[in-house]
């Protein structure tokens, strides 16, 4: 049993998803999906435990030996990402029922859970697979289900936002497909490790470069790198709160994961950074993205849209870390995937609490809400401190690592700009804090009640995780560092 764990982690939610449709009772569906989510989380923990104990696991699907069959690879990096994707998936689903009741027509609920499970399956699949075509398939599984989930939003603009995301996302995925095709043409294999070996002496060919370019651009769309981010703000704003919470915390990070895998696992840093200056492009676009998106966030009147722009900025920090291509930088980038996942997940859950009680997430309706919803407001403050990167929160850890990595490389200007940009986060986070605490209560806020415990507890689980992982980093920065060193060491 235990040796089939890698495939079970994918198969269980995948098979459970269609089964959900047959359980017609709403509560039953929910409980079933919840159980599956937590079971998946449990399996991810077991996987990580195995990896920590005995090193990376390779699992051959259907016993077809790699590179002919599909291989699942669980190493530090994939186990780490799977852990937080499934963990956040479980926590957000625990939070979901009351928020969904409020925002989605009950008759559609039985559709939400299967799609949610499919989305999680796709994201986990991208992490675990060692086969490049599989990455595309899982990417499309997660994307298609997330388009559908986003379109369920209360506003009539939700379907349009989902459609725009669909068009952008499909272009991105198709670009990836082109890149995969070209690489296959060149190497005759789809197994990533095998491909890296075949490619090692074929770095000069134009096909390699074209494939690399297509894959980079394709994934950049999925990662929402500036200026390919245009789909993200609308998608996050109009999706149901629960969906935004899950997708914002996980989807872009898994795309970053895929990008790191492709750059470090297939093409090697020498090819990407030394021969083709990807690092310069990444640094420039990341920094522009961080500044533009942070400034845009400052001017938003809608809390969800504000956080969406902040997400675009935060992806910039992850890519900055990748572009440093030294141990500290990559560690910083990877650990920021985790830290930002819990921070942004937590904050979107807070927004969901406001949406439930105030029926709006516009800033003017939020004014003075701290008086009637003190715990929710406090959660915003703590999560916001994490987003700013104040010491003793998780955000600080990643910022610190990125700073030392930049200085180690002698990128003084980058370090200075990075720190300056994080001050913009102070502005947009604190603007909300002031509105919550110092403004005269709005009509909605006066009559509001504190959010229900069933939502507050999961929210605080993530918020407290921000504080815990700001002090205790064995399983965040420690694992990220292991993952980074194996990524850097695994390349010739």
């Amino acid at each position: 049993m235990i040796e089939h764990l890698p495939v079970l982690t994918i198969a269980v939610p995948l098979i459970a998803a269609p089964l959900c449709v047959f359980l017609l009772n709403r509560t039953l569906v929910y409980l079933f999906a919840l159980a599956v989510c937590w079971a998946t989380f449990g399996m991810s923990i077991l996987l990580l435990d195995q990896v920590l104990e005995s090193g990376p696991i390779s699992y051959e699907l259907g016993s077809w030996p790699a590179p002919y069959g599909i291989e699942y690879v669980v190493d530090y990096f994939s186990a780490f990402v799977m852990l937080f994707v499934s963990g956040i998936g479980a926590v957000v689903l625990t939070y979901a029922p009351q928020s969904l009741n409020d925002e989605i027509n009950p008759s559609k609920h039985y559709m939400v859970y299967p799609m949610y499970l499919l989305c999680m399956t796709g994201l986990l699949g991208i992490c675990i697979t060692g086969d490049l075509f599989n990455v595309f398939v899982f990417l499309e599984i997660s994307s298609l289900s997330s388009y559908a989930l986003i379109s369920l939003g209360r506003s009539r603009r939700a379907p349009l936002a989902a459609f725009q995301y669909l068009v952008m996302g499909t272009i991105g995925a198709t670009f990836l497909l082109i890149g995969i095709g070209l690489l296959y043409q060149l190497t005759g294999t789809l197994n990533m490790a095998d491909m890296a070996m075949q490619l090692a002496d074929d770095h000069d060919s134009r096909t390699t470069l074209v494939a690399f370019a297509f894959m980079t651009v394709g994934l950049s769309i999925k990662m929402a790198v500036f200026p390919l981010h245009t789909w993200l703000p609308n998608a996050y704003t109009f999706a149901p709160s629960v969906v935004t919470g899950f997708i914002a915390a996980t989807a872009t990070k898994v795309s970053v994961y895929a990008f790191i895998r492709i750059v470090f696992g297939i093409f090697t840093p020498q090819f990407a950074f030394d021969e083709h200056a990807l690092d310069t492009f990444l640094v420039v676009f990341s920094l522009i993205g961080i500044f533009v998106a942070s400034v845009a966030a400052i001017y938003q009147g809608n809390l969800k849209r504000m956080l969406a722009y902040s997400s675009i900025a935060q992806v910039g920090y992850m890519l900055l870390g990748v572009s440093m291509h030294n141990l500290d930088g990559l560690t910083g980038g990877i650990v920021h995937m985790f830290n930002h996942a819990i921070i942004k997940g937590g904050l979107f859950l807070v927004v969901g609490c406001f949406a439930l009680r105030l029926q709006s997430v516009r800033l003017e309706d939020l004014s003075g809400a701290a008086k009637t919803m003190p715990l929710t407001a406090l959660a915003w403050v703590l999560g916001g401190l994490g987003l700013i990167g104040v010491p003793l929160t998780a955000g600080f850890i990643s910022k610190w690592l990125l700073l030392t990595a930049a200085l180690e490389n002698g990128y003084y200007l980058v370090a200075a700009l990075m720190l300056a940009s994080s001050l913009l986060a102070v502005v947009y986070v604190w603007r909300v804090v002031e509105i919550l605490y110092f403004s005269e209560p709005s009509e909605a806020a006066k009559s509001a009640r504190e959010a229900p415990w069933s939502m507050l507890l999961p929210t605080y689980a993530l918020i407290l995780a921000i504080l815990v992982f700001g002090v205790w980093t064995t399983y965040s920065a420690g694992l990220a560092s292991e993952a980074a060193s194996s990524l850097l060491g695994g390349t010739p």
């Binding site: 401190l385 700013i388 990167g389 104040v390 010491p391 003793l392 850890i397 610190w400 690592l401 700073l403 030392t404 930049a406 200085l407 180690e408 003084y412 370090a415 200075a416 720190l419 300056a420 994080s422 001050l423 102070v426 604190w430 002031e434 605490y437 110092f438 002090v471 980093t473 920065a477 420690g478 560092s481």
Partner: protein, 494 residues
């Protein structure tokens, strides 16, 4: 009962946290809450005193909580300067707690639980900063201090409080993230360590040419301006802005804990990161000395124009803090000694002045100096204390401040900065001009001719300020003990 020094460190750091938790738990029971705070703060002071015994006898207790990140650990190691600062902070916490109870209750302030809880957190941050063994720990404590005092500054929740809080947080976070953090990262990248060491950790990098003199100067600037809590101009705006807070906050935090964490950090970095010999040999700090001198004069001049008592005291604080920065910048044994002593002298003196301002407000609701004529007849104890503390701040015997200013003056002479010596002299005159008229005029007849009835603030407000006023006098006579305690930090390591 004998405890090892490192368990004493644990105890002294845990106690404020325990207070924080207990206050949260017993928030509804005001008497129990305040009683517990009083008892535990006294216990804390006792623990810190026990630690001080060992440290002043030459011990250097250490405690490491392990790596927060690979290579960056949260660790504590006590040296005399930090010990002195911890003594001041924990000792004055007791006095301030008494005062705050009297002040908050007679004002019927709301959110008292949050108030006292944040207070305890700020004390924790102050102690953690005082005991820090490396820059990383210092930075973490420094930022914790900023965050934990924000709710205190904005305590009243009014529009004015919001704006004050915005300036407070804006300036302090901006400087610390943009400059201080950058400086720490830079130090790490050239020195490959962040541990405080007597004689500094940068000498090697400097000799090997890894860091040029002009870069060293830039690094010092990043530190000096990055530590916004030291209120060096032009990053001093937060301090007057923070005066919207209730007076006990201004007293303990904005005369003692917060600002002293700032100047303490500057001093500590000068001594233990750069090393005072290195600073003197390379003369990278001349500009800093003159910036500090400029701040001293300008802040004093601004203070003279302020009619609001707390605002005047705030600018006076800005000016006095620059003395300490000046001592660090001059980097001679005497000037460093002067700075170290001034941390104590100014703390006790300024807290008295703020207590007085608060007591006047409690008793008469007056905030403007121009309204205080004749007030001394109604509040003789308060105004008497104000007078004594003013003497100390100005630097006249028998106020403790005389000693610290003497050593600072010695430092300017040693380094032949006669212009700065003149600055110190002029500044003392300015101090006289903006502080002494307040108590003197208060003992004159009121303009209207009617005498105010005797009406002191409540006992719990008046008693602490009398104590600290006497404290300034006592410090004048026990200054040699302080001198001996601080002597190790002036040692020159070759």
């Amino acid at each position: 009962m004998t405890l090892t020094p490192s368990s004493l460190i644990v105890l002294s750091l845990v106690l404020p946290l325990v207070v924080f938790v207990l206050i949260g738990l017993f928030g509804k029971l005001a008497n129990l809450r305040d009683g517990l705070t009083l008892i535990l703060s006294s216990v804390l002071f006792y623990v810190v005193c026990c630690l001080a015994d060992g440290v002043f006898a030459g011990g250097r207790p250490e405690l490491s909580l392990g790596d927060m990140l690979p290579g960056f650990s949260i660790a504590f190691s006590i040296e005399p300067l930090g010990m002195v600062f911890a003594l001041v902070a924990s000792g004055l916490w007791i006095v301030t707690t008494v005062y705050a109870i009297g002040y908050m209750r007679s004002h019927r302030e709301h959110h008292q639980t949050r108030f006292f809880a944040c207070f305890a957190m700020a004390i924790f941050a102050a102690l953690a900063a005082a005991f820090s063994a490396n820059l990383f720990t210092l930075f973490v404590a420094y930022e914790l201090m900023t965050i934990s005092t924000y709710p205190l500054v904005t305590h009243h929740g009014t529009e004015k409080a919001k704006l004050g809080g915005r300036t407070y947080l804006g300036v302090l976070l901006f400087t610390s993230i943009a400059f201080f953090m950058m400086a720490i990262g830079w130090t790490w990248s050239v020195a490959h360590t962040l541990d405080f060491q007597l004689g500094g950790i940068l000498r090697e990098a400097c000799q090997s040419g890894e860091i040029q003199n002009w870069q060293l100067m830039l690094l010092l600037a990043l530190f000096a301006f990055g530590i916004g809590k030291a209120a060096l101009m032009p990053f001093h705006r937060w301090l007057p802005a923070a005066m919207v807070a209730p007076t006990p906050v201004s007293a303990l935090l904005h005369a003692v804990a917060v600002v002293k964490v700032g100047v303490f950090s500057v001093l500590k970095i000068a001594i233990y990161v750069f090393g005072i010999d290195l600073i003197r040999e390379t003369s990278i700090s001349d500009w800093l000395a003159y910036t500090a001198g400029f701040t001293i004069l300008l802040a004093s001049l601004v203070a003279m124009t302020k009619d609001n008592l707390k605002a005047r005291l705030a600018y006076s604080t800005v000016s006095q803090l620059a003395y300490i920065t000046l001592g660090a910048a001059l980097a001679t044994p005497a000037s460093v000694m002067g700075s170290g002593m001034h941390i104590v002298m100014h703390a006790v003196g300024k807290i008295t002045l703020f207590f007085c301002a608060g007591a006047i407000y409690v008793a008469t609701h007056k905030t403007d100096i121009s309204d205080m004529r004749g007030l001394g007849r109604a509040m003789p104890l308060t105004m008497g204390a104000f007078f004594i503390a003013s003497i100390s701040i100005i630097g006249l015997p028998p106020g403790g401040g005389a000693w610290s200013k003497w050593f600072l003056a010695l430092g300017t002479v040693e380094t032949s900065h006669y212009f700065l010596l003149a600055v110190l002299m002029i500044s003392s005159l300015l101090n006289i001009a903006y502080l002494l008229p307040i108590p003197i005029r208060s003992f004159m007849k009121p303009k209207t001719g009617e005498t105010l009835p005797f009406k002191e603030a409540p006992m719990m407000c008046v008693l602490p300020l009398c104590l600290t006023a006497i404290g300034t006098l006592v410090l004048f006579f026990v200054a040699d003990a302080l001198y001996l305690a601080l002597l190790p930090i002036t040692e020159v390591v070759k």
